[in-house]
């Protein structure tokens, strides 16, 4: 652990302020709580919101996992994991089941989360109504009045133009029948994992300075039409490495002649399946 830094980088007053925001967010599921976001030693858009939330909830006994687009070994994930290993001295892991805190960008692990775990999402645009209404005063008013009918416009336009809902990520959800929530840019396939999850789910947006949360077992419904129900995407082939059919697959170009293959985006899940196969054979 590096000397000269407070535990988990942020000073205690800041952590207390962020914890107060988190408590309020947990008390009002899906409601965006403003907080005094701090400058972090990395650029906006790289996870400053998620890092501040993680720094405020992490303790010396926690085990941290950081994923970026499902992978544990991408630059962003490696850097943030190292950041907390250095400033908080906590144990880190790549195994979903062993982590007590998981900070993530763009994915929810395929392995179902358990009670007691915390998942922290990095959020670029916390306001699901932003594309519709650029004024913050008006979007707040829309939230206050539950004025969400216009949100279906986007889905209507999708169907009118393409014959189906094409919104593939950051698919809008309604939390506990009350607040409209942006689930952060996770693929549509991950939306059902938000619903009634046993883990505490925290969302931090650094640039926009907003925190929101889903306490365990909160109902989360993805918006849809009666005759065009919400559906997750599927693939025509299984994962090229582990053969999984139920996980989110990344398309990887393997040569310059159009060759490509599909593999799990969740590296821990993929490796876990391969290891289990090796053990059983």
């Amino acid at each position: 652990m590096s000397a000269g830094y407070n535990f988990a980088y942020l000073d205690e007053q800041t952590k207390r302020m962020i914890r107060r925001a988190i408590l309020k967010a947990v008390a009002i599921p899906g409601y965006q709580v403003p907080f005094a976001g701090r400058e972090m030693p990395l650029p906006y858009g790289w996870g400053t919101g998620g890092i501040q939330v993680t720094a405020s909830v992490i303790g010396p006994d926690d085990t941290l996992k950081v994923i970026d687009q499902g992978a544990d070994d991408t630059t962003n994930a490696v850097s943030i994991r190292k950041f907390f290993a250095r400033t908080a001295g906590v144990a880190t892991t790549t195994r979903t089941a062993e982590a007590s805190i998981i900070q993530t960008r763009h994915r929810i692990p395929e392995t179902p989360l358990k009670a007691g775990q915390i998942i922290v999402f990095q959020v670029p645009i916390p306001e699901p109504l932003r594309w519709l209404e650029p004024r913050e005063t008006l979007t707040r008013r829309m939230h206050a009045l539950g004025d969400y009918g216009a949100m279906h416009l986007k889905l209507y336009e999708d169907i009118a133009r393409f014959g189906r809902i094409t919104t593939a990520y950051d698919y809008p959800t309604l939390v506990n029948g009350r607040y409209l929530m942006a689930p952060s840019p996770i693929p549509r396939l991950d939306n059902p994992k938000l619903d009634r999850s046993a883990a505490l789910q925290l969302f931090g947006a650094g640039r926009e300075k907003r925190i929101y949360a889903l306490p365990p077992h909160t109902p989360v419904k993805s918006l849809d039409f009666e005759d065009h129900p919400f559906r997750v995407e599927g693939w025509s082939q299984p994962c090229a490495r582990c053969g999984a059919r139920d996980s989110y697959l990344d398309e990887i170009v393997i040569d310059d002649r159009g060759g490509r293959r599909f593999v799990c985006s969740d590296t821990d899940y993929c490796d876990g399946r391969l290891a289990a196969e090796a053990r059983s054979s």
């Binding site: 206050a144 009918g149 209507y156 336009e157």
Partner: protein
């Protein structure tokens, strides 16, 4: 006509600082009636309309609107209750259709949005109703997926009217609905409004400075000057036999062809 007025305005006053825009306005509007408000620019017509629509807070007075479960005072109601109790009973047609439309989405979505606000979640029905309403306001239903930005001014105005009427309101407020359109398009639009109002039994509060429009559409007329109603009565009566000096001036200043 039914026993009670749809809208009863009592002592409505609107001040902007020291300036008085509307002073002590009283009138009643009955179901199915088209009431015109005429007067020169700056006489307070649009301010009155915007007070009733809830776009402006009134300084004093009551605006009693009959909804399914009794009377609501539009001047005192809070936004949340306003939405819950009035919902889509009240429509507003802006002078400039671009103020009343969502230009980022297609024509069909513009008509479907009020229905989605009201809780309709069936794409097929939304689509059918939107196409139906496009035809009713004389827009080719094949343009349902076109962006209204590419529509002519007259088409945009007809689209705005469809968007307002799709939820079957009981009262529609119109602010110069034919302003900025050329004469032949105006005539077609007036025909359309008159026919729809008659078909749907709609009450309309129509603000215009064009006495010709008022003559064609309105059953009754109120003349406003400097924030007051100076004369009111049946349209033909007011226009053919004006009593007040100001009304006489207004009527005589129209060119006759």
């Amino acid at each position: 006509m039914s026993e009670t007025p749809l809208l009863r305005v009592q002592g409505l006053t609107k001040r902007f600082g020291q300036r008085v825009a509307c002073l002590d306005i009283d009138f009643e509007l009955w179901p199915g009636e088209v009431l015109g408000i005429v007067g020169e620019s700056g006489s307070g017509k649009t301010t009155l309309l915007r007070c009733i629509a809830g776009h402006l807070d009134v300084s004093a007075g009551e605006i009693l609107f009959a909804v399914h479960d009794g009377l609501v005072d539009l001047a005192a109601i809070r936004e949340g209750e306003r939405r819950r109790r009035i919902g889509h009973d009240l429509g507003f047609v802006h002078q400039n259709p671009r103020d009343g439309l969502r230009l980022a989405v297609s024509a069909g979505a513009n008509i479907a949005e009020p229905l989605m606000n009201a809780g309709m979640r069936h794409y097929g029905s939304l689509r059918r109703i939107a196409a139906d309403w496009l035809a009713r306001v004389e827009i080719d239903p094949s343009r349902i997926d076109d962006n209204p930005r590419h529509f002519s001014g007259g088409m945009q105005q007809r689209l705005q009217i469809a968007r307002n009427l799709v939820t079957s309101p009981r009262l529609v407020l119109m602010d110069e609905p034919t302003g900025g359109l050329d004469v032949s398009i105006q005539a077609r639009l007036l025909d359309l409004i008159r026919q729809l109002a008659a078909d749907l039994g709609l009450a309309v509060l129509l603000v215009t400075h064009d006495l010709g429009v008022a003559r064609l559409l309105a059953h009754r007329l109120m003349v406003m000057q400097e924030g007051r109603i100076v004369e009111a009565g049946l349209t033909d009566q007011v226009l053919d036999d004006p009593h007040e000096a100001y009304t006489q001036l207004l009527v005589s200043s129209v060119l006759r062809l």
